[in-house]
Structures are given as C-alpha cells and as structure tokens.
Amino acid sequence: MYLRGTYVVVDPGTVRTDDDDVVVDDDDEPPSKKLETIANTAKPNAPHSKYLWSRVRKNITNHTTRHFGRRRVIQPMINLLTFPGAQRPARSYRTDADGVGIATYEWGNESAPPLFLVHGGSDFAGTYDVFAPIMAAAGYRVISWDHRGHGDSDHTALYGWDADIRDALTVMSSITTQAAPVVAHSKGGALMLQLADASPYRISKLVNIDGMPSKRRMPDAPDHDQTRMMAGEITGWLDFRHEAAATHRKPGTLHELAVRRGKMNPRLPIEWLEYLVTIGARQDDDGWRWKLDPTMRFGGFGPWRPEWTLLRMIALGMPFLGLIGTVDEPMGWGTRPRDLVPWIPRNGRLEAIADVGHFVHIEKPNEVSTMILEFLS
C-alpha cells in the first residue's frame, strides 16, 4: 500500500513535544507573572504535604568548579524539590562530542562496573532520578546523559539519529571501550538497537523499555488523502524552519510547566512532573521554561520507517530484554506486544507488564529494577 505504514518523521523521537510549549519572538502572548522566589512557584498550599518542598536559593544549580581533561566537574547537584526515592546524580560533567557539549551524569561508585541509561525523546537524564539510584545501590556505576538539544546539553543546528548515536558512543567511550550493559527507554531504546546492530561489541546486554517502534499509528485513510496529509506536514515543517531561529519556549510557573507536560505524561503524578520541571527547565526572570531546544518539533515525514528498528532487533546476538507496558500513551509508539513477538531475537525475551503505560520504569521502579537486575546478573 502506497505510504501506508511509511509515514515517518524527520527527527524521530523529537516529535512528541507539546507544540503549545513553543512560541516565536513576535508572539504577543503576555508572559506569566514574574516570579520573584521559588516559593512563588512551588505552590506550597497544594496538596503535596507528604513531599518535602524545599525553599532553596534561586540559581543554586548554576555551578562550575574545576576541569579534568575533557570533563568539567561540577558540584554535587542539589534540587529545588524532592520526590520519594529520587536522587540527583553524584557526579555531573560535560563530555565533548565533536564540538557538542553533552551533559553527563553518574550515580554510584566510580570503580563499580558501568551501566548506561539512555533516555527517550523530549526527556533528559533526570527522568532516571528514581531508577538510577536503585541500580547504583545494586552495585553499578550508572552513567546517563542528556541528548543533544535536551536538558543541559548543547542545542545544535542539526539533529538526527546518527548524530545521537555518535554522541552516545562518545559518552560511552569516555567511560569504557569494552562491551557494557545498556538500559534504554523509548527513543533511546530505538537508538541503542541501532548501535547494538552497528557495533555489537560495545553492548554486552541490552534492555529496551518500550523503545521498539512498529508502524506509526495512521488513520485508515485512502492513499490520496495520505498524500495530501503528508503535503500538509511537509509545508508545516518547512514553514516552521523559516521561523525556527526566533522560537523560544513559553514561560510559566513551575506548576504550569508540570501541567503542560502532564498532557504527554497523563499517568505520571503531578508531584513527579513538578520535580522534573526543576531539572529539565530553567528559571528566567519571566518564569520557568523547558530547556528542550524549541527548534525541535513535529517533523511528520522522512524516509526512515519505524519498523526498520525491528529488523535490527531480531538480528541482535547479545542477551536482550524487551519491556513494554500494555496501556497506550501519547508518548508511546503505539506498539502492542503481539507486534513484537516475531521480532524478538533468539537470545532475548519480551515482558509485557499489565496496567502500565509508556514510562514503565517510572510507574513501577521497584518491579522493573528487580526484573532488570535479575537479567543483568
């Protein structure tokens, strides 16, 4: 069928950004009320009494200290809010990936065996703040990083999967050139399937958490209608490229940003989303803004086909564990367990976890970490 199931994105994994979050410079929407203190944004009267709301000096997370070769070591990270079980990384530094600064984070003992965690599109390493400490406590040196354009990594002119994979390999090589275990979520999972296929000697065991894209969800439209829809996506994307240089993210209160993110993360508690704001967003004079590069947006077209990832997956030789929730979510690929069964490699297995959405490891950190630690051992 012409185009059916081939309707894909230019920047896969960056497509699920909430477009309501992006504005251009000539947008006349008034900024949110200027925030003077953290207390203004932290909604102390909200029903979060079981969580500790810490009033910490503004900009406490801006810090730079000393240099070790390619790494700029910064102070241990202190966060504005806490969340049960969440721990900021013990170490944080930048890795130079061919001129792109990649914010890199570590939990656990530096002399322990490495374990790499790879986040999904529109996310950042801080989304592992609950999961990573569990893995570190189990005896791993846990390393993660913000993808280019995400979190505290550099915003670049170009984005693409090959570039993301090179960035990943640069970070991994700065730790070890030996095969190491990798746990990767969503877009990160699909990236690591490609790396595992291209460089199988770099990954000893691979855990993929709902990052096994099958065909993208498409309406059951006739071919000519799909062509027209593609034309609309192309012109929309090109029009955006004309104004991309003038785009910025819409400011808001900490709570407003959490609510915005909640549209794409409807199953995650607002307290967790607010915690993420304090990591993945920055506080400007007129409010909080997500750090995610605003030039990343819906692509909607491109030659890449999501199902190609599965062709790579079945070819893998290293031990493989695929985890997938059974509840579909906006940021998920829409892949069902039965779509994956034919593509699980001989040395792998698939676990479908009931009543869990796309963020399997965030909804069920203990259950998922137990399963993964058993697999890694």
Binding site: D98, G99, A198, R241
Partner: protein, 223 residues
C-alpha cells in the same frame, strides 16, 4: 538585460548561515543551481545553463562552500530541502538545476513547494544515489577526524552519502510536484545514472525523461 556579477549574500536557516551566490542578475524566472555532495557553488554560470534567459543563483548547502558548518553533524536531505526552501522564499520561486545530491534535493523541493519550483532538472553528480533503500548495512560508527569544522563538512559527506532514499518516498514527492496548477511536467530526469529512486519516479506522471539538460532548461524557460 542580463549582466554578469558574482555576489554572495547570507540567508539565515535557524542556526545556519547559508551562502546564496548571484551568478547573473536579470529579470524573469530565476534559475537556482544546487551542487552535488562535497561540492560548492560555481563562481560563474556553467556552460550548460548559459542560455537561461533570467537571473541565475547558486546555493551552498549547509556545511558546504561558504555556508556555515554546524557542530557534530546531524545532516539529512530534509534539512537541505529546508535550505532550498529558505532560498526559494527569498527569490520568490525558481527553476532548480540539481547535480547529484542536489538533484535529489531538487526533487524533494519540487514536491514540497510546487508553487515555488518552476521545474526541476535532475543531473548526474556526486551523491546522486544516496545510501541504502532499506535498513542501513553500516557496521561502524564513522568519525570525522581532523577535517571537522571545515567545508565540505565531513559529517555531511558521511551522513548524506548513506541516507535512505526508499523508492516510494521519492515517488511521493514526484506525485506531490505534479499538483502544479500551471500544468507543466515539473521534473526532468536528465541523468545517466539511475539509482532506484530515479527508476521509481520515472513511472510517475509529471516526470519527463530523454531530454538533454539544455532541452529541459529551454522547456522550463519558455513563457
């Protein structure tokens, strides 16, 4: 009356500064030259385009010629399509003459902006074929080495020489280009080399073959 004057202006595409060269000033429909992979714009009007009656421009793609070089690569033909779209909007439309990689990007532009592309002439040149038409067979992650930061950007050479160009993806753009209300055949395939994406668009309406480059340009130059 046409005169020859090579000047260059910078256009902004997000964080990239694009070099648009004026090879000949004049009135009428502009001709926009798109170079091949690893090449850059010529400084004079190529002989093959000498009879074009209007102004002639040439665009350096991102990471090529006098356009800026982004850090760390991340190239795609769709980004180069957006480069061309920036130039097309600046010029108010043009006929495209593409070499190699520029031919493929010209096809994409003709499909994406049929109202701005008054014919696309596809010719042989570096980067015409692209990479795999299926999953890539790449078995190693390439590195740029010490040429990083210079044009042609080694990341452009690496990534754009192995980008996927599935046949039905190319066909889609050929079909989209045929929506031009002027009713001209918008794509002229003048290349000898026929990678799968060229074979695929040959079957589409609005694609003409068998013409020389000069003949194709003459057709698109006709009022």
């Amino acid at each position: 009356m046409n005169t020859t004057a090579h000047t260059m202006q910078q256009l902004t595409h997000n964080k990239i500064s694009l070099a648009l060269h004026t090879l000949r000033v004049g009135s009428g429909t502009p001709l926009l030259l798109l170079h091949g992979l690893g090449e850059h714009s010529p400084s004079t009007v190529p002989e093959v385009a000498a009879r074009w009656p209007g102004p002639i421009y040439a665009l350096d793609f991102t990471g090529h010629g006098q356009s800026s070089v982004p850090a760390g690569g991340g190239y795609s033909c769709e980004i180069l399509l957006a480069d061309v779209d920036i130039a097309l909007r600046h010029l108010g439309g043009a006929c495209l003459l593409g070499r190699g990689l520029g031919a493929y990007v010209a096809l994409l532009a003709a499909g994406a902006r049929p109202e701005l592309v008054h014919g696309a002439v596809l010719t042989d040149g570096p980067g015409l074929a692209g990479g795999a038409t299926h999953i890539s067979a790449v078995t190693e992650i390439a590195t740029a080495g010490d040429r990083s930061g210079k044009t042609p950007d080694p990341w452009a050479l690496i990534e754009l020489s192995r980008d996927a160009r599935p046949a039905n993806y190319a066909s889609t753009f050929a079909r989209l280009s045929a929506t031009d209300p002027n009713g001209i055949d918008p794509i002229a395939v003048c290349c000898v080399v026929r990678p799968p994406w060229i074979d695929a668009i040959n079957e589409e309406p609005g694609v003409v073959t068998g013409l020389s480059i000069e003949e194709a340009l003459e057709n698109y130059a006709a009022p």
